[in-house]
Structure formats: C-alpha cells, structure tokens
C-alpha cells in the first residue's frame, strides 16, 4: 500500500471525432490519494479525457487502466461491456450539468446506483445514502426533488450519488462551471473535504485556480489534445515552463 500505487493509468490515448482530433496522445497516471487538476482552454480535450476514462467515449487509440482492468477502444462485445461496467463501478463521475434524475428525490438519486447492484438491501442502502447526504451538508433535503434544489445543492447531491458506489477514484468534469458564482464555494468545499478527509483520488477538470492551488497535488495543462505542461501547483504557478500555460493562467487568474 505505498503512496505511489497507480489507480488510473492512461497510456497513448487518442480520440478522434471523424476528422477532428481531440486527444493526440495523452499519458497520465493518478496515484492513490492524489488530486490532479486538469486545466486548459475549452476544446483542448480535458472533458474528453475524463469521458474516455469511464468509456462514455470510446478511445480511438491507446488504453485506460482502472483498478487493474486495462481496456482500449473498439467494438463492444458482451465481454467488453462487462469490463467497461467493472471499470465504471470503480469510477465516480460528476458532470457539469449535474445530470440528477428528476423523477427521483435527492436520496433516491443517491440510492439509485447501489440499488442496481446484486443483493442490494434497501434499508442499508438508504441508511448509507442518508449518511452521504449528511456528509455533503444536505441531510435536511433528502426527500426533495432535484428541481427544488439550487444548483450548488444539486451538484452536492450528484457528488453523494457518485460516492454511494464507493468508487476508488472520482472524476469531476467542470463541476462548478454551470453554477452561479456564489454557489461554487459550497461545492468546492465538499470536494476539498473528499481530498483531505477521505484521501479520495480525484481528477478535476476546472478553471478554479484557487481550488487547484489549495488542493491539487499535481496540475496538467491541456493544449490542443496533449498535456503540454505538468507539475505541482507551486511549479505551475510560480515557475511556468511554457508560454501557452502562462498565457492561459494570465487570462484566468
């Protein structure tokens, strides 16, 4: 159980949509307990990388390895679908648009994943879901439908929903980009507590440089489908190597 045990390994990842190349050879490891912030201009391939890791997008070339299962893209046979599902069970994902299920209450959203597993016991699943609602600070909103929650509250429910599967890694795809500025803090605070209290390995695509500086162990700057610069926040902010990174940071800071 050394600190550099690899949870996610991305190797030589390419993704093309028709003639458009979005990822052009990405290698990235995420270690146990590590928080990696991925940043860069929109269209640089950040979200596509996260979506390839749990196979919402099919990699064109290269492989993804999660919890010992290594997979590439291509035709989805029955066996492959089962392997993809096994990867997804280890990976929690939080989306920019929350994507909560509107026909369910908040706690039903959180219960939904575990209830789909074999031998799920409704009572214990519900108890765990309520604990998670408490953990994201929404113990009193368990029986509300998502539409009656603010954006920040919805995103916290979405985090609880992903945590309910007891993932080994969490992927955050611009989790605060759809929120009003005054609501981003509550979501970032929950994410920070995941990193510091639970030592949850996380990959976070975000423009929140304050969060990155405070929480990230490593940062990766995406530019035109490749990682142009990578390093701890102190280096990225204090000793920027590439002009493109500098230009981007000057624009967002």
């Amino acid at each position: 159980m050394s600190g550099d045990e690899v949870i996610v390994r991305v190797e030589g990842l390419h993704k093309r949509f028709g003639r458009l190349s979005v990822l052009s050879g990405v290698d990235l490891d995420l270690h146990k307990g590590e928080v990696v912030v991925i940043f860069g201009r929109s269209g640089s391939g950040k979200s596509t990388l996260l979506r390839c890791i749990n196979f919402l997008e099919d990699p064109t070339e290269g492989t993804v390895e999660v919890a010992g299962v290594q997979l590439g893209g291509g035709h989805r046979t029955r066996r492959k679908r089962e392997q993809i599902r096994r990867i997804r069970l280890h990976v929690g994902m939080v989306f920019q648009q929350f994507n909560l299920f509107p026909q369910m209450t908040a706690v039903e959203n959180v219960m939904c994943g575990p209830m789909c597993l074999k031998d799920a016991d409704q009572k214990s699943v519900r108890k765990r879901a309520l604990d998670l609602m408490e953990r994201v600070g929404l113990g009193d909103k368990a029986d509300e439908h998502p539409i009656r929650l603010s954006g920040g509250q919805q995103q916290r429910v979405a985090i609880a929903r992903a945590l309910a599967m007891q993932p080994e890694v969490m992927l955050f795809d611009e989790p605060t980009s759809a929120l009003d500025p005054e609501l981003t803090g509550e979501v970032l605070a929950v994410m920070k507590s995941l990193a510091t209290d639970l030592h949850m390995p996380m990959m976070v695509v975000t423009h929140e440089m304050g969060f990155a500086r405070e929480v990230a162990d490593r940062m990766a700057f995406f530019h035109e489908g490749v990682i142009l610069e990578e390093g701890p926040p102190a280096q990225i902010f204090g000793n920027t190597q590439r002009a493109e990174t500098r230009t981007f940071l000057d624009a967002v800071l």
């Binding site: 929690g92 989306f95 299920f101 026909q103 369910m104 939904c112 539409i147």
Partner: protein, 289 residues
C-alpha cells in the same frame, strides 16, 4: 349594434357556449321528432347494446396493452445498433402503417386459418395443436390486429419519447455502472413516459372507436361488442336511427370519460418537474425495488 356588442361582452363566455350547445340539441331534437324518433325503443334496447361495452373495452384494453409492448420493443429496436432488431422493426412499422387496419384484421382472422391447412398438408408431422393456434376467435383476431396496427404507429411515439430524454441522463446512469435494461427501466423510460403518455392516451381513445371494425369479422351475437349489437337490433326492428344514435352516444361517453382520466394522469406525472409543492402527489415511486 354597439349596444348589442356591449351587452354581449357582459355575458360570460361559457354561458354563451352553453346556449349554442342547447341550440344544437334543440335542432337535433326537432330533427328526431320529424324522424319519429322512438325513445321508448332505445330505453328497451339500450341495456342490450350497452351489454357489449365489456367486450368493446376488453378489445380496446387488450389491443392497447399489446400495442404498448410492441411500441416499446419497436422503439428500442429503432434506436439500437443491432441490424437485425433495426431491420425487423423497420419492416414491422412500414407494413402495419402502410396497409389498412381492416385488411390486417381479415388477414389475421381469415387468412391465417388457410395457412394452417396448407401447413398441415405440406408437413404432416407438424403438431396440430400448434397449427390450430393460427385459427383465432374473431374478437382475439381483432384485438391482435388492433395491437399490431397501433403498435406500429406508437413505435414512433415511443422512439421520440425516449430520444427526448437528455443524453446526460443516460450517461449519468451508465457512469453509475447501470446495465442497459437498468438504465432504461430506472432512468430513461420514466422520463420518456411524460412525453409518451399523452399521445398514447389519444391512441387508446382512437382505438376504442376502431374496435367497431371487429364487428365486420362477424362475432357471435352473445359476445358482440356494442357496434355489432346495435347493428343486430337496429336491423331486426328497422330502428337504425335509434340504434346508431344510441351506440354513437356510448362511444362518445367513453371518449369523454377517458379524456378526463387522461388529463388527471398527466397532472399526476408532472411531479418532480414543478417547483410548487403538490400536496396530493406523495412520493409514490420507491427508490428502486
């Protein structure tokens, strides 16, 4: 003139419409009086005609249930990447939308028994009880034809409903590790239902009226639906006006009744989509069983 317009503006809209309807009924009453409309005959025979309601409803409910199953399968096939499923569904929709319902009824009621005979001639070893299942009772043949025909139309309704659910919903379900059927059953279909149910209600109401076509297959008098019954007694007593008016009123009443239920159902289904609390809607859908 202006004074009349002003006076008219003070009369509530609904009252004006009521007056128009009363007028229409007055004209119809006059017409029926000229035609020597026999109210007493209707009183004597309405019970018999209405006795067919049970069969009318059986055919309609059976038909719509079959149609819903076929439409769901058809829609899933139409959005799947499986060439066999896609092709079969395409053929099904094209054929049953492309031919008249009454022709389909006769195909199933009268043409299938011929298939049975020829099948047994050609393959003497073919189990006869299986072949006999091709010979159907008229009401059952009619129900199947209605289900097949409406299912073809409703495939498009279901497909549109499923595709109206935001892509992120399916992705969130997949990201949670749900299998295809779990994703459909728990996440996609419940949301699609909001889009699917209103037009499906319309299809059911339309089908209730199309059950009258089953009468052409010649059902035995005892188990006849309402249109067949009205034909039988109307012809026997030469009271066609009374008989068909009576049966028309029955269909009309059914339509009004089901339109009312449909509106209520639609209101109930909007829970989770409106911000104001709805007191009478409890959280009836369990978090997955």
């Amino acid at each position: 003139m202006e004074r009349l317009a002003l006076a008219s503006a003070r009369v509530p809209w609904r009252l004006k419409i009521a007056v128009v309807w009363v007028g229409i009924f007055a004209v119809l009453a006059y017409f029926f009086w000229i035609a020597a409309f026999d109210v007493e005959w209707i009183q004597d025979n309405l019970g018999y005609i209405a006795g067919g309601l049970i069969y009318t409803l059986q055919i309609a409910v059976g038909g719509i249930m079959l149609a819903v199953v076929l439409a769901l399968l058809g829609a899933l096939a139409r959005i799947s990447s499986n060439p066999v499923a896609y092709g079969v569904a395409g053929f099904y929709v094209s054929f049953f939308r492309g031919t008249p319902l009454i022709v389909q009824m006769f195909l199933i009621y009268l043409a299938l028994p011929q298939v049975r005979t020829n099948l047994l001639d050609k393959y003497p070893g073919f189990p006869e009880y299986l072949a006999n299942s091709l010979v159907l009772d008229a009401a059952i043949a009619g129900t199947i034809a209605l289900g097949l025909n409406y299912g073809a139309y409703m495939t498009e309704i279901f497909r549109a409903g499923i595709q109206s659910v935001a892509a992120g919903q399916g992705e969130a379900a997949e990201a949670l590790g749900m299998r295809y059927l779990q994703k459909m059953r728990k996440v996609v279909l419940p949301q699609a239902m909001r889009v699917i149910i209103p037009p499906t209600g319309n299809e059911f109401i339309a089908m209730m009226k199309d059950t009258a076509l089953v009468s052409f297959l010649g059902v035995t008098a005892a188990s006849a639906e309402i249109f067949r019954r009205s034909q039988l007694v109307g012809k026997a007593d030469f009271k066609n006006l009374e008989a068909y008016i009576a049966v028309a009123l029955l269909y009309w009443g059914l339509t009004i009744l089901f339109t009312f239920f449909q509106a209520r159902l639609e209101r109930r289904m909007s829970s989770g989509y409106i911000r104001i609390p709805v007191a009478d809607v409890g959280h009836s859908h369990g978090g997955g069983g």
